[in-house]
Symmetry: C2
Subunit: 322 residues, 2 copies
């Protein structure tokens, strides 16, 4: 690494911890992955992070300006407290305090989706743009919004729960307790649910899709639906089409409400169905207000699964350098 100014970026999820050194150009060095030992609890996981990060710092041979960490959960930004992280089973873990004391560097804690948005904004498909929306469609649906050059955080730092905008008041139930949320149509779990229900309703139409999942209804996932759709299976195509229509409706709502210059789409569902970005682009232009789409670009996310690490590290550089 040639840059004199660098930070550590961490993406802490329920199954794995991703870590890298990130420089001011958003380049990653010494990226590594460590399993998240959820059962061992917060102290043990933090111990793992400290060990991995110290090791990485030694490899680089210099001291980082600090560390950024994205966590799948609700974050209190002032104290860097993880208020609630369901995948980790954490409540009120003072992550910033614990890690900065253990490492001796400043630490900034953010939400994982917000971190990925920072990544796309500063070094990905959003570079140089002050008004953008990132919508990540994976198992769940989440996002981040930059407006007027500011990352929106909201009153309790939860702004950007874009998967839980309602697109159909009589729609299917969502994991959040409400119904008709965008995520309940287009999240990976919802695509899988929809496919399983369709197979159960019409087993003969579902033969291909079921076989592609090894004949097990429970093994039908958003990935197997995307594979079957790519192979031309009509049922899988219908399921994907329903998700695409929902994403268009959600995107239209977001474009009308926020008027972004760029609408950036990422996540496993987007990566699994290559036509989706084009379909959403076309749908927005047909259905959103003309004035709100005059300068709009609809783009695929650029950093893929590096967005979180790059974003967390870049946020640290931004936070801890002048």
């Amino acid at each position: 690494m040639t840059a004199e100014c660098w930070a550590i970026g961490v993406d802490l999820g329920g199954t794995k911890i991703e870590v890298a050194a990130v420089d001011s150009q958003g380049r990653q060095y010494h990226r590594l992955r460590h399993p998240t030992n959820v059962k061992a609890g917060p102290a043990a996981i933090q111990g793992d992070i400290v060990a991995v990060v110290r090791d990485l710092s030694e490899k680089v041979g210099s001291t980082p300006v600090g560390m950024g960490i994205g966590v799948a959960g609700q974050i209190d930004p002032d104290e860097g407290l993880v208020r609630f992280a369901p995948n980790l089973g954490w409540r009120d873990v003072p992550l910033q305090k614990d890690l900065s004391e253990a490492l001796g560097w400043p630490v900034v804690v953010t939400n994982d989706v917000r971190a990925a948005t920072w990544g796309e904004w500063l070094h990905g498909a959003g570079q140089g743009c002050g008004d953008l929306i990132c919508l990540f469609v994976g198992t769940g649906v989440g996002g981040g919004v930059v407006c007027g050059g500011n990352m929106l955080s909201g009153c309790n730092n939860t702004a950007g729960e874009l998967g839980h905008i309602v697109i159909h008041t009589e729609g299917p139930s969502c994991t959040c307790g409400n119904r008709g949320c965008l995520e309940a149509f287009a999240g990976g779990w919802a695509i899988a649910r929809q496919a399983r229900e369709a197979i159960s309703r019409d087993p003969s139409a579902g033969t291909y899709l079921l076989n592609s999942a090894g004949g097990q209804l429970d093994a039908v996932t958003a990935e197997s639906v995307a594979r079957s759709a790519n192979a031309g299976d009509p049922l899988a195509l219908r399921v994907i089409d329903r998700a695409a229509k929902a994403l268009i409706a959600g995107a239209v709502s977001l474009v009308n409400a926020f008027n972004p210059c760029r609408f950036i789409l990422g996540g496993g569902v987007v990566d699994g169905w290559p036509y989706l970005v084009g379909q959403i682009d076309q749908g927005i232009r047909q259905q959103a207000l003309a004035a709100a789409t005059r300068s709009l670009q609809v783009l695929p996310a650029k950093l893929k699964n590096s967005a979180g690490v790059v974003g967390a590290g870049s946020l640290a550089i931004r936070s801890f350098t002048k």
Copy 2:
């Protein structure tokens, strides 16, 4: 007027021009109203504004710091150009340039709903709050959003088209060309449409509502629906209930996406049905994400039909004083 620092606030609509002197406390003086002579064209209307405003300035006896004007249309904020104002029949009218040249004062031009949001933010129900949404439910539905202490404007200055978030992908057609928009359920025109359709479908159930509109189906308006609902008419209550459910769905989407501290409701439909703010408050708390509503207040707008004038004047003070 005791304040040394004051501005002129103008609310330019398709039927009337409202003008007042506004001081730094958001107080209005010498408020007056002038009809908008749409047929006479932009130059004549601007002439009327200049005459009214000069007269007002003379009454005050001192020079304002400038003038703010809210226009029902799309505004290019850099040049203060009215790009498109359907109610006025204007396209590309350089309002800021024309008025500042005629008056010799600095002029700031904004959208009428944005002006009303400035009013509620600086001197109404949003005072002292840096994260809020104003949703105005009148004939149309529009709004403004303040996030992190900034009024959102977006890429083409159209942020805040909150009436055109989609709440039901199979919902009724909207004036914007799309279907299922919040406005197509809850705007005054949509409430009237829904009531007329319900009366046509079931004339006996519609007797009371039709009579309240003088027996003329075309004379059924959102106001007559609200009056009939207030009198306990079951059909009118069902129509209002449908609009209320739509507003809850829209509010849930907005609260989840923006995480405001305050959600402020104004406009004729809100004023006409006194239970609406409470119903929306309750609905948000039942259906939005708990984390997004932790600090949320749902409040009625405070400035009523003064919000536009006060907001436009206050924006001028904010823009043209240090």
